[in-house]
């Protein structure tokens, strides 16, 4: 009886060792590719941030400046929100993304896809000169995942 139990335990141990080593080996084998894909996503996130920072539509002002003017209630420019969402959809593609511009406790946000627990973030502060106003600093955050 005791011999039988010992055999079963040995076989169980060998089987478990085989399965766990297989899992670890497969994880190790795909590690370089997974890390390279993470670097790729990081670059995409950074370029998404810079593209949004430089994006202009119809007006001479870039998107963050237009958003800030809208948040501050400067009425002479209209933010083409639908077009911005369309552009954001185009850039983010099948992934998830979020852009958030904050100034003086006021926020403007566009989101594509569901919020994810694992994402890349690029953020920065922008010094802006709204037409006919004081210099202001806005916070721009872009998330991609």
């Amino acid at each position: 009886m005791e011999r039988g139990l010992a055999d079963v335990l040995t076989l169980g141990f060998v089987f478990t060792a085989l399965i766990s080593s297989a899992t670890l080996l497969l994880l190790w084998a795909n590690l370089p590719l997974r890390l390279a894909e993470e670097r790729q996503d990081h670059l995409r996130c950074n370029l998404l941030y810079f593209a949004l920072l430089n994006f202009k539509h119809d007006h001479e002002l870039a998107l963050p400046q237009q958003v800030v003017e809208n948040l501050l209630g400067i009425p002479h420019r209209e933010l083409p929100e639908n077009f911005v969402i369309e552009v954001f959809h185009f850039w983010v593609g099948a992934r998830n993304g979020r852009v958030r511009i904050s100034i003086e406790n006021k926020n403007w946000e566009v989101r594509v896809g569901a919020p994810k627990s694992r994402f890349y973030r690029s953020e920065g502060k922008l010094s802006l000169l709204p037409a006919g106003g004081e210099p202001l600093t806005a916070k721009v955050e872009v998330e991609f995942g």
């Binding site: 040995t10 076989l11 084998a29 590719l33 890390l35 390279a36 810079f50 430089n54 994006f55 185009f90």
Partner: protein
């Protein structure tokens, strides 16, 4: 008889383990190769997108195809641009087994995606 089956099981397990190690090693090398090509695509995209203004691409003097040398190996690349209004600019090189990277850019103020394709030379 029982010892025979136990021994057989251990032998088969050991054999499977060796096969697994060999397969993982092969996968690791393939993965390393793809990672290298992905990194080259990232390097090219970074070089092209961070020239004057970040993420702003100028079509003039854009090298649509070329060779990138890394560690004595030649990697070929070609570029493509797709704008939001559906216009496409790309090189017409036939490619197989290539790594593709699409990054958001602005081309003459129009939102676009820069596609970098990298593959290993013969």
């Amino acid at each position: 008889m029982k010892e025979f089956f136990t021994g057989l099981f251990v032998l088969v397990s050991l054999l499977s383990f060796f096969i697994l190690v060999a397969a993982s090693y092969q996968t690791y090398h393939r993965s390393l190769e793809y990672a290298k090509m992905t990194d080259i695509a990232c390097t090219l995209a970074t070089q092209l997108c961070l020239r004057n203004r970040p993420a702003v691409i100028e079509l003039e003097n854009l090298p649509f195809e070329g060779i990138y040398e890394l560690g004595g190996e030649n990697f070929y690349y070609s570029l493509g641009i797709l704008t939001i209004d559906g216009r496409k600019v790309d090189s017409n090189i036939p490619r197989a087994k290539c790594v593709e990277l699409e990054v958001p850019v602005l081309v003459r103020g129009v939102p676009a995606k820069l596609k970098v394709m990298v593959w290993k030379g013969a």
